[in-house]
């Protein structure tokens, strides 16, 4: 995965405190942040696609983690946005635990299933360790949160 896809020094790809309390609003907040960062050309279209993806099945994997993902014509380059909700968001998780960590995985429409699934698998693996999730949840600043996100995905 190209390093540019990772959040890190670019704080625009990290949202350390999601304001939204509901899943659709959180997706909208992240899509808007993606457009502001130049990651997506039309956040409205991305948001519709993400909502439809959630209708296919929840993107929460349990353990307070969700990995919404989409490939779209509106996305020129693969990018990952990481966000945190201190309150937790109902994401219809398989374990019913409110989601606190969200990794929005975005890929261009031209990417193959194999390439995109490899990126999603890598993102999922980065959240698997409880130690990593705890570090992300307890990061005191946006910079620290971005740094831990980058280390987790590296």
């Amino acid at each position: 995965m190209p390093l540019a896809a990772l959040p890190g020094n670019d704080l625009s790809l990290c949202i350390p405190d999601l304001k939204s309390k509901k899943k659709d609003a959180a997706l909208a907040e992240m899509a808007a942040a993606a457009e502001a960062a130049g990651v997506v050309t039309e956040s409205d279209l991305l948001l519709e696609l993400l909502k439809l993806r959630e209708r296919l099945g929840t993107s929460s994997l349990g353990k307070a983690v969700a990995l919404p993902h989409a490939r779209s014509l509106t996305i020129p380059h693969a990018r990952i946005l990481v966000a945190r909700s201190t309150r937790g968001i109902d994401w219809q998780a398989p374990d019913d635990v409110p989601v606190q960590l969200v990794m929005l995985i975005l890929g261009p429409a031209e990417w193959s299933d194999d390439a995109f699934h490899a990126l999603v698998a890598r993102a999922a693996a980065s959240f698997r360790l409880q130690r990593t999730r705890q570090k992300l949840l307890s990061a005191p600043s946006a910079q620290e949160f971005a740094l831990v996100s980058r280390q987790a995905l590296a």
């Binding site: 296919l56 994997l61 349990g62 014509l73 509106t74 261009p108 299933d113």
Partner: protein, 114 residues
């Protein structure tokens, strides 16, 4: 939502449906922990979205999709990502114009300028 936006969403949605219908992709996503049981709901949403698009464009979309798999190609750096032909500068919609669907003169895919 403009006609072009609806067509772009339809193309992205079709790719998602194709992914969810592919046995290999389903297996990989299930292994990662994703549930894909809502496919009928997404298919219904796809039908509703297609109904909102002018028939002339849905016909063109379906015909191009049958031919290439993906009916819409993003234009990146003035290059059609479907056939990799560099498009003339005059093909680009003018800033301020409402984006209208247009075909690639080389491959016939519907173009989405980014």
């Amino acid at each position: 939502m403009t006609t072009l936006q609806s067509i772009v969403l339809l193309a992205d949605l079709d790719a998602m449906i194709r992914e969810a219908q592919s046995p290999e992709s389903r297996a990989r996503l299930r292994k990662l922990g994703f549930d894909l049981e809502g496919l009928p709901r997404v298919m219904a949403a796809r039908a509703r979205l297609a109904d909102t698009i002018d028939r002339r464009w849905t016909f063109s979309y379906e015909r191009t999709r049958q031919r290439y798999g993906r009916a819409v190609a993003a234009v990146r750096e003035r290059v059609c990502s479907g056939c990799f032909v560099t498009l003339p500068t005059t093909a680009r919609p003018r800033a301020g114009d409402a984006p209208a669907p247009q075909h690639c003169e080389s491959c016939g895919r519907i173009l989405y300028w980014t």
